[in-house]
């Protein structure tokens, strides 16, 4: 009797996963769904093409946070409401233990972190970094001259997800440092080129 029961369990898991949204939604769709959820519906979202990293500011941000950019460009969305800029959102990768982790940082126009979301996590272990309460610790962070974010400092560690949690902490700090080095007007200027 045990074998048919096992088959049924595997069958249910197979059926369940085939309907999973993770199979069908691409990274862009996932990211834009999150951005929509952060801002209200009256906002207009404009997605620009990939924005190539500027070498000098890139080096500055990497040195400050001790983490290199994996990609040579970032994906940027600019969000407008009816009268003014409402914020920006940036999509990037950091390296987990073995796989890249794709994360989205949403900023206010002052480059203060509004929210952080994990758009794609590809590993078996360490998935607790997707917990939105843990990610909530980044809200309100802004780049400062002689300070950077650290796991175990301003950001709590996660049992069983040390490497992923450290990578995301440094990633958010690195992205914020990079954007701050450019400043908001420069970002808009580069994006509109």
């Amino acid at each position: 009797m045990r074998k048919p029961a096992l088959h049924r369990v595997l069958l249910i898991i197979g059926l369940f996963t085939i309907t999973s949204r993770h199979l069908t939604a691409g990274i862009q769709a996932e990211a834009e769904a999150v951005i929509q959820s952060v801002f209200n519906k009256e906002h207009h979202i404009i997605q620009f093409d990939p924005l190539a990293l500027s070498p000098a500011e890139r080096h500055q941000a990497e040195t400050k946070t001790g983490q290199r950019f994996i990609l040579d460009q970032i994906y940027l969305w600019i969000i407008y409401d009816s009268t003014a800029l409402a914020g920006i959102a940036v999509l990037d990768n950091v390296r987990g233990k073995a796989q890249p982790i794709t994360y989205l940082v949403v900023y206010t126009p002052d480059l203060v972190v509004k929210q952080v979301h994990i758009i794609k996590y590809r590993e078996q272990i360490g998935g607790a970094v997707q917990n939105q309460r843990w990610l909530g610790q980044f809200s309100g962070y802004r780049d400062q001259a002689n300070e950077t974010l650290s796991l175990g400092g301003a950001i709590d560690g996660i049992t069983g997800a040390t490497i992923s949690a450290d990578a995301i902490t440094r990633g958010v700090a690195r992205m914020t440092a990079y954007l701050n080095a450019l400043n908001f007007n420069e970002i808009i200027h580069r994006a509109e080129k």
Partner: protein
Amino acid sequence: MTLINSLNRMTLLLLLGLQSGYAQPAETMDQTFFQPSTTIGGYGELHYNAVWSESGTQTGKLDFHRFVIFLSHSWSERWSLKAELELEHNLVEPPGENGALELEQAYVDYHLSPRFGFQAGVILPSVGFLNQYHEPPLFFGVERPDYSKLIIPTTWFGNGVSIYGELYGIDYRLVIMEGLDGTQISPESGIRSARQMGVKSDATHPLVNLSAELRKIESLVVGASISINEVPDTLDGRSRSNRVMLTELHIDWTPGNFTMRGELGQISYQEEVLVNGVSKAQGFYFDLGYNLGQRAGFRGDLIPWVRYNYNNTAASVTTMASALTDENNETYWQMGLQVKPLPQVVYKVDFGEKSQAGNTDRLLNLGVGYMF
């Protein structure tokens, strides 16, 4: 019933086949964010262990206990290889002597979605905290808790397959792997010496390990597992079977600067006559630590901690074997300090008193460890 089995199997294979052939739209953005790649990682730890025994002898040893290289290659987002090679005690000597070179992990991982994955190769069963997560910065103490040697035989690895994923906020994992070698189960070391370690392992009596872990609540991890194996053995020249069952519960809670961790486990033997009259082994430990890093102005973790550890590999015995309970009863008090300048680097010191079979030893351990 056979027909139903066959249909179920065929349906399952069909579903999996459809899944593997399911093509995502070739979106440039998705391709940018994932490229096939090879990565390395690893960990290592140097220990100094000093023991003052009640009889008056003193020993002190330096040991580069573990040097581990982790290798991964991802062919795609779903298909990857993960492998871990470990050198223990810095030198490989003849069998039975110090040192070992072990292939602790080497499996192909099919990560279909966060809800379902499949692994095949040399894998680790999900039993307690340390069997899967044992890098030095991740636990208090220079050495792993005695519980993680005597009750849960970390690192426990072997040939097998597993399915894993997350359903309704619970991480689940089902492992079917090589079983235990019944002739090596003992009252003194429990099932530790019975691990086959993937060496041309006997696959006639597979072990089934099922685990569930809740990680959805921030700063709290609660998990449990059960492992069952019908272990072949012999008695007086006749084949016998011994059902060995390991059940355990583990909790880790880190509110604010506090860390509280506890594990509790039991091994039961259906045929105690095959284990010299032992029917159960039991153990637990509890850690309490407090991170003084921020208060002390230290840019990292500075955690003094205490631990109480109890183990008895012959906790329940037949009347004829009652002496074994006293001989294998171990209590171990420890206090220590964990200094982590980075999340991946740790310096450790701990001191403790271990009592077993009427003897009490004092132990001092120093260590440095890393992971990347």
